[in-house]
């Protein structure tokens, strides 16, 4: 019961701040709401016993990506106080598409997994796992990321991708010689 209440509060927080992100006129406030939404997602990870991922979420999303976004907002700020609408002309169509997409997804989810918490079907609640497995999941993850029969190739590709993105971002954003 307590778990359900906590889950509902955290999800409502996440979703409401997400709505603020896509609707607020003030881009800076939208970025703040985005941070709050990331925080809510981190809360969901904690509820799912993924503490490592929650901390990574804080470090990467709030500590790095949000900061980057705020910097970008400030560097391109001439539009900040534009009086015109923040939405383009297709907002009705967009809303319709989003609603239809959600309806389809919800239908599929409800068909395959029980929605009521009290049903006797499997996955109505988190399966019980011994605490040692959950505690060891980080070590397990670390081993999986570097073992050759698991994820070592994706891991290396991801690191190369990060390096490429790093260099690419510097090259793209570097001021040209004639600007100076």
């Amino acid at each position: 019961m307590v778990e359900q209440i906590v889950f509902i509060l955290v999800s409502l927080f996440t979703l409401i701040t997400a709505v603020v992100v896509v609707t607020n006129r003030n881009l800076f406030h939208a970025a703040l709401a985005l941070m709050a939404s990331f925080l809510g997602v981190a809360g969901l990870y904690v509820l799912l016993d993924a503490g490592f991922l929650a901390a990574a979420q804080l470090l990467v999303y709030i500590g790095a990506i949000s900061i980057l976004i705020i910097f970008a907002i400030m560097l391109t700020r001439r539009l900040m106080h534009a009086l015109e609408s923040p939405f383009n002309s297709q907002w009705g169509l967009g809303a319709f598409t989003a609603v239809v997409a959600f309806a389809v997804m919800a239908g599929v989810i409800a068909q395959f997994w029980p929605v009521t918490p009290d049903s006797v079907t499997p996955l109505a609640s988190r399966p019980e796992v011994s605490a040692s497995i959950l505690r060891g999941s980080v070590a397990e993850l670390g081993r999986a990321l570097v073992s050759s029969d698991a994820y070592v190739i994706p891991f290396e590709i991801a690191s190369v991708l990060l390096l490429a993105a790093l260099i690419g971002a510097i090259v793209v954003a570097w001021p040209k010689a004639e600007d100076e």
Partner: protein, 102 residues
């Protein structure tokens, strides 16, 4: 006693909110923010499936980490591109970036 489907529904809703933002916002930075929301929704799904279906094997966690990495790379490159565009064209409104049109 939270069923798996609740997490999936929250993730789907978050994804659709992000989708709406991507389709209707005019400012390119706002579009990027909405894309980040969508990536987060995907991550919730991955972690929820890990916890409910295979908690002893870190499959979902590993993929969530990769999504995180890609999101970081995407944000860095995307925002660098936006700053470069802003420097050249003085605007980051997505509709006005139509040099290739006509």
């Amino acid at each position: 006693m939270v069923p798996l489907s609740w997490y999936l529904l929250v993730a789907a809703l978050l994804f659709c909110i992000g989708l709406y933002g991507v389709m209707v916002r005019r400012n390119a930075v706002a579009i990027l923010m909405a894309v980040e929301l969508m990536l987060n929704a995907v991550n919730i799904n991955l972690v929820a499936f890990w916890r409910y279906l295979s908690p002893e094997r870190p499959v979902g966690l590993a993929w969530a980490i990769f999504v995180l990495t890609v999101a970081a790379a995407e944000a860095a490159v995307g925002l660098a591109l936006l700053i470069s565009v802003y420097r050249n064209r003085g605007s980051v409104v997505a509709e006005e970036l139509d040099l290739l049109k006509n």
